[in-house]
């Protein structure tokens, strides 16, 4: 087209909604999870003051953040896969495996530790790659593939580290999960930044596009196979990060430590507004969702809920949060 004026005008400019109104409506999930997090923090502080007769301080901040980091990475891993309209049940298995390998290998000096850390990240990515290839090339259901690989990765993890143990170098812990200083305050913006970058790459767009409609995306020239494989691989990488942060936190390894993360990562992603139908949501939301999940556990602890009933209340909370988010989302969108 050379002409700068249109040859045929269908309709002149109509009334438009403002930029902010669009942004709010389209990111309602993110807005809600931030609100939820704020409510949780307030609730937590009130309960803390009532029960402990003082304000939560640096120790509480550091330990909460350190507890959240593994889940934040697991939720990110889950989000990457769920956005493609898949699901990754092997998140827990990859965490087990990478955590076990960390316990066996991270024992030497800084150079060896760094090299092994990189190797462990590669192991995680390789696990994700296997999932991705089976789903994309093997045309198998994501839920079946990852259910199978979950068991396989768990099995290998037990082989690698039959008994909980290992001695993670203090230097490693000091970098990832320093007990005296909230190092996580550094990592959270890094995760946010990485997500923002991802969202602005071709791959990021492709992940969302195939989650919207894989057929349509492929008829625009997006390679569905490549995108799915990369999404699972990046997911595996993120799960490996979770495994490493867990090792740093515990200063030791345990081949079953990741098991609960399969389900909690899904919970965190859903709380963060990620749609299980794919194509909608954000890693940022999942990050906040992870914080909410951890805060709820903290709140239940300070509310002196019998630990036996803890999961009951967690479930209740999840249900209430998802139902009300759904209702608010609908009201904001106006219709349907």
């Amino acid at each position: 087209m050379s002409a700068s004026t249109p040859q045929t005008v269908l309709m002149a400019s109509g009334a438009r909604r403002s930029r902010t109104s669009h942004a709010l409506v389209q990111n309602v999930g993110l807005v809600l999870v931030i609100g939820l997090l704020a409510a949780c923090i307030i609730g937590y502080c009130v309960l803390f003051v009532v029960t402990q007769h003082r304000f939560p301080g640096g120790f509480e901040l550091t330990s909460t953040l350190d507890n959240t980091m593994p889940l934040a990475f697991a939720a990110l891993a889950q989000t990457l896969v769920v956005l493609t309209r898949g699901i990754d049940l092997s998140v827990g298995g990859v965490i087990d495996l990478t955590n076990a390998v960390a316990a066996q290998t991270l024992t030497g000096g800084p150079v060896a530790t760094t090299l092994w850390t990189l190797a462990i990240l590669l192991i995680g990515a390789a696990c994700g790659l296997v999932n991705g290839v089976l789903v994309a090339v093997g045309r198998l259901q994501p839920i079946l593939v990852t259910l199978a690989t979950l068991s396989i990765y768990q099995g290998i993890a037990i082989r690698v580290l039959p008994q909980p143990g290992g001695a993670i170098p203090p230097g490693f812990t000091a970098v990832l999960a320093n007990p005296n200083w909230p190092t996580s305050l550094l990592y959270i913006p890094v995760i946010g930044g990485l997500w923002a970058i991802f969202r602005r790459t071709r791959l990021g767009v492709a992940v969302f596009a195939i989650g919207n409609d894989a057929m349509a995306a492929s008829s625009h020239g997006i390679s569905v196979k490549r995108t799915v494989i990369l999404a699972y691989t990046l997911g595996g990488l993120a799960s490996a990060c979770a495994g490493l942060f867990l090792a740093a936190n515990a200063t030791a390894g345990d081949a079953t430590t990741g098991d609960t993360y399969t389900l909690t990562s899904i919970v965190a992603a859903v709380l963060g507004g990620v749609s299980l139908f794919g194509g909608r949501g954000s890693g940022l939301g999942a990050l906040f969702g992870a914080f909410v999940t951890v805060m709820v556990v903290n709140i239940l602890f300070f509310a002196h809920i019998d630990p036996l009933y803890q999961t009951f209340y967690e479930g209740l909370f999840l249900l209430a949060a998802v139902v009300s988010a759904n209702m608010i989302g609908r009201a904001v969108r106006g219709r349907r």
Partner: protein
């Protein structure tokens, strides 16, 4: 200017046992607008999918720009300058208009990353350049109308400066003015020497824009013409003669009961619409897309909430909170977008056809399979659905045949009040004729019908009365006999002209 731009030579394609194309050939040259016509299921879309790189042919040769090509995917076609607007739209619903328009060519910022604001800005400029600036680049595709989605698909393809442009039924959800706009774009491309191949079931359009016409029948081409009249074309397409496209309108019963009465109905995009509908009447609704018809239909069907006004059904005041309630009151809606609003594409023709009458087909909650089969088969027979059998998934049917299944589902439901929303969208001439006869037969049997169509000609011939909507209000009410398509169009755009 007679260089062949695109050629198909004896192309064949089968799906399982079903042959979609047997040996289809045609040639289109640069600077030409070439129409492909044929019945529903004749293989037009299959051919376009092959030429657009989305489907691989089993046999035959495809040449683009004179060279035999084997397209590995849509991207390969794009690289050769061939762009396609597929019949089933391919926009991504939860992404913005801007992201969809510029997918894979997003505007990058200084960092090499995609810049959202620049993408919005460029999409906005693109929309303005193509004269469709009323569409908001920040809106989600999910929230814009079907006509706007179609427009976006067209703008995206055209803005890539195609050498060859394939348009598969681009006008099926557009109204006159939008079709004019599209033809403006097509003419501009032709002037620049591009080749445009399109399909349509509307003869008037084909006559006004196509330089040559290739007719398909049963997966094969049966001839290419520069000049051919409609009767002859229909005969070649169907092997039958259709005497008059529009059957005569039966008279309205004199003392018919009022089936539906809307008074001052308001809601999103609809402002104070009142009308009454009698048993035996076909009430047309027309006007430009986006002027509230869709919302009005959804409101009548309980799928959108009315904020004001009153609805009376068979003398009783009603307030529907869900389509379920409307169906229970005897109201059926055949919606526009079969892909997202109506059909379960992976399920069989049988399951889709009998979906709303399942209750009637069960005993103690257990389905009676023989009756279900019979009901589904009756739909296939009475509407001449071209399918390998009632257990085929609906997604494997051609577009027009999918539409027939959807219509058939609601005919089975035996609702007294039928809301037909663009039911002949993408349906071939012969079947259109059958649907018209069916609609008028239903009316003469006492059904009350509200009929929206994007084709003004259709409204003019088929309706006892036509309400023309503009900006959410009824701008004109026209009475048969003597309604013409021109009356409807001019009532729809009156103030655009006055301005």
């Amino acid at each position: 200017m007679t260089r062949p731009a695109v050629e198909a030579v004896e192309v064949g394609k089968s799906y399982g046992g079903v042959a979609a194309l047997t040996a289809a050939s045609f040639t289109a040259t640069a600077g030409e607008v070439h129409a492909l016509v044929g019945e529903n299921g004749a293989g037009k879309s299959t051919l376009i999918k092959i030429l657009g790189g989305r489907v691989r042919p089993d046999t035959g040769v495809v040449r683009i720009g004179g060279n035999a090509v084997s397209l590995s995917g849509p991207q390969a076609a794009h690289d050769l300058g061939a762009w396609t607007v597929f019949q089933e739209l391919t926009l991504l619903p939860w992404m913005t208009v801007a992201e969809n328009l510029l997918l894979l060519r997003e505007t990058k910022g200084a960092t090499g990353l995609i810049s959202r604001s620049a993408t919005i800005r460029d999409a906005d400029a693109l929309l303005a350049r193509y004269g469709v600036h009323h569409i908001d680049p920040r809106a989600l595709v999910e929230d814009i109308s079907l006509a706007e989605r179609q427009t976006i698909e067209i703008v995206r393809a055209v803005s890539n400066n195609p050498q060859i442009l394939f348009l598969d039924e681009p006008t099926s959800s557009l109204v006159e003015r939008e079709v004019e706009w599209l033809f403006g774009q097509i003419r501009a491309l032709r002037t620049q020497g591009a080749c445009v191949v399109f399909t349509s079931h509307r003869w008037a359009e084909i006559r006004s824009i196509a330089d040559r016409i290739t007719i398909f029948r049963g997966g094969k081409d049966v001839g290419t013409f520069t000049e051919i009249d409609e009767g002859e074309a229909v005969r070649l397409m169907t092997g039958r003669r259709v005497e008059a496209l529009y059957p005569p309108l039966p008279p309205m019963p004199n003392a018919a009961a009022t089936a539906l009465e809307a008074s001052a109905m308001s809601g999103p995009n609809v402002r104070g619409v009142s009308f009454s509908l009698h048993a035996g009447e076909v009430l047309g609704v027309g006007g430009l897309a986006g002027h509230g018809h869709r919302e009005l239909f959804r409101m009548l069907f309980g799928d959108a909430t009315a904020t004001g006004g009153q609805l009376t059904v068979h003398g009783k005041t009603r307030r529907f909170r869900s389509p379920r309630a409307a169906i229970a009151a005897g109201i059926a809606l055949v919606p526009e977008d079969r892909k997202t609003e109506g059909l379960l594409l992976r399920m069989s023709v049988r399951d889709n056809a009998t979906l709303v009458i399942l209750k009637r087909l069960t005993r103690f909650g257990v389905l009676k399979p023989a009756e279900e089969r019979r009901a589904a088969q009756s739909v296939v027979d009475s509407l001449r659905v071209r399918t390998a059998g009632i257990s085929q998934p609906v997604g494997a049917l051609s577009g027009g045949n999918q539409q027939k299944v959807l219509l058939g589902r609601w005919l089975l439901a035996e609702c007294q009040i039928l809301l037909l929303y663009d039911v002949t969208r993408g349906v071939d001439v012969a079947t259109k004729h059958e649907i018209y006869e069916l609609v008028l037969k239903l009316a003469s049997e006492g059904h009350a019908i509200v009929f929206y169509s994007s084709d003004a000609e259709e409204l003019a011939h088929l309706c006892h009365r036509v309400l023309v909507m503009r900006e959410g209000v009824v701008a004109a009410e026209l009475h048969a006999p003597g309604i013409t398509a021109e009356d409807i169009v001019s009532a729809a755009v009156r103030d655009h002209l006055a301005a």
